[in-house]
């Protein structure tokens, strides 16, 4: 009987280890695939061209392989999305955690979380067919495809990620700190921003990092609403293409295995992988840096 227990424990341990191992293998496998194809790509295109050329036109007969326009597009949409998601998400979190009563909080949270359940294609067409025309009223020269509209809608989509995680972080700040501040005569607002917010900074930072990853990785909204033209610009009223949007665009075409066009997908994927990887490391670092012991 004891033996059976022992083997059962061992088996479960093995199973759990296996699952963990599988995800590591999958990550390494993906990274390897990307790297192998990228190496093949860089046999043809020089690193210099890749990093310094200001055009990305792999499908043209006179092909140019500069990654900068895709990075600029990604950067720009991400910044716009964050300018929406971080302030609104944070304010909503502060409101829900420190001001709203429990009933209201329980009622509003699912509503916010529904936003995350909407397929991003829907957001994409919402940006293209609803937001862009509205923006064109304000900015008559705005083209039908533009980064601004895509970025704004993406920001709205990301708000619940920020608000939900930040709110959890603030809720987990012990009530004794709240009472300590109120007992000194601090107002709710002051308590929220000078005690609760800093004490929850580790969790709040994680929510921001998640928002960044989500924005960098978002595909459909930008593919639909921002146009499909790689464009080295930091002007949000122009069309542009992000790394992810490029990948879908090209993947939808019929590219023969082993051609340079096919390899560009993996190179773009590798760049994206490196970005998200760096953000995750930054996230882990910030979480440690701001971890508070109460």
């Amino acid at each position: 009987m004891r033996n059976f227990q022992f083997y059962k424990e061992k088996f479960i341990e093995f199973l759990l280890f296996g699952c963990a191992f599988l995800s590591v293998i999958a990550t390494i496998g993906i990274a390897l695939t990307l790297i192998v194809e990228a190496i093949a790509f860089f046999k043809i295109v020089s690193l210099k061209e890749f990093f310094t050329s200001s055009e990305w036109t792999p499908m043209f007969s006179e092909a140019k392989y500069g990654i900068a326009p895709l990075i600029a597009g990604t950067f720009l949409t991400t910044i716009i999305a964050l300018l929406v998601a971080i302030p609104f998400g944070t304010i909503i979190a502060v409101f829900l955690s420190e001001y709203a009563n429990k009933k209201f909080r329980e009622a509003i949270k699912p509503v916010l979380e529904v936003l995350t359940a909407i397929p991003t294609v829907v957001f994409g067409y919402f940006a293209l067919l609803f937001i862009t025309p509205k923006l064109q009223v304000l900015l008559p020269d705005l083209p039908g495809f533009n980064v601004l509209s895509a970025g704004l809608v993406m920001g709205v989509m990301i708000i619940p990620y920020v608000s939900s995680l930040s709110e959890d972080a603030m809720q987990s700040v012990p009530n004794s700190l709240r009472e300590g501040a109120y007992a000194l005569g601090a107002t709710k607002l002051r308590t929220a921003f000078t005690v609760i917010f800093p004490a929850a900074l580790s969790g709040i930072t994680s929510s921001y990092i998640l928002a960044i990853s989500r924005a960098v990785g978002e595909t459909m909204i930008v593919a639909i609403a921002a146009g499909m033209q790689p464009n080295l610009t930091l002007n949000p009223t122009e069309p542009a293409q992000t790394i992810t949007a490029y990948i879908v665009q090209v993947s939808m075409g019929d590219l023969p295995h082993g051609t340079i066009g096919y390899q560009t997908i993996f190179v773009a994927g590798l760049v994206l992988f490196i970005f998200t990887f760096l953000f995750n490391i930054l996230g882990v670092y910030l979480r440690r840096r701001f971890r508070e012991v109460y």
């Binding site: 700190l177 009472e179 300590g180 501040a181 109120y182 000194l184 005569g185 800093p198």
Partner: protein, 256 residues
Amino acid sequence: MNNGKDNYALESKNVNFFYGSKQALENITMQIPEKKVTALIGPSGCGKSTYLRLFNRMNDLIAGTKVVGEVLVKNQDIYKNNVDLVELRQHVGMVFQKSNPFPKSIFDNVAYGPRAHGIKSKDQIAYIVERSLRQAALWEEVKDSLNKNATALSGGQQQRLCIARALAVEPDVLLMDEPASALDPIATQKIEELIMDLKQNYTIVIVTHSMQQAARVSDLTAFFYMGQLIEFGPTSKIFTNPSNTRTEDYITGKFG
């Protein structure tokens, strides 16, 4: 009852308190004099903390609570609508059972209250921080590490920091809810010495579960039992010659 002869810092008249439908205080009428130490004793759950927290309206933070009756601070009913909580809590400071320093530097902890009340001058803040830490007998221990995180201090130091933080807003009344219950005997002794010092200038109300502590530090003692005030009077009398048998049973350790 009193024709302005005595100065009561705090007063309650027929106060009933409810957590939802659960009544935690029944008809408490009590007058707490100025510049004295008043101890609240009684078995766990009898309503000491609830009573203490009436006076800075800390119970307001708990949803579904209700106060019936009058709670007076300096003869003002603090549950009237027009009461400024910020001002009230400046007059009536509180030290909690579990020390709760903010995860900030020692300096910023003590400076928190004055800053909240609008003091901006750096010199003035620094002056208040030093004065408060000296009052709380902590200055010598921390003067070289004011920028250190307060959560790194020992338990006893953290509690004295919380006292300094409360003193920094210059209250008249200090409410202390079992301030030494989590501390070792030496740290407890320091807190008690501090209370003896502070009573020259402050009205102190202290909840304690230690009868020795109540006997050592307080001038007056109130015995609570199941939400009722059983007996209130000079500490010497309560401990040597209580008029109620339940008080006697409690202080002689028959229950509690």
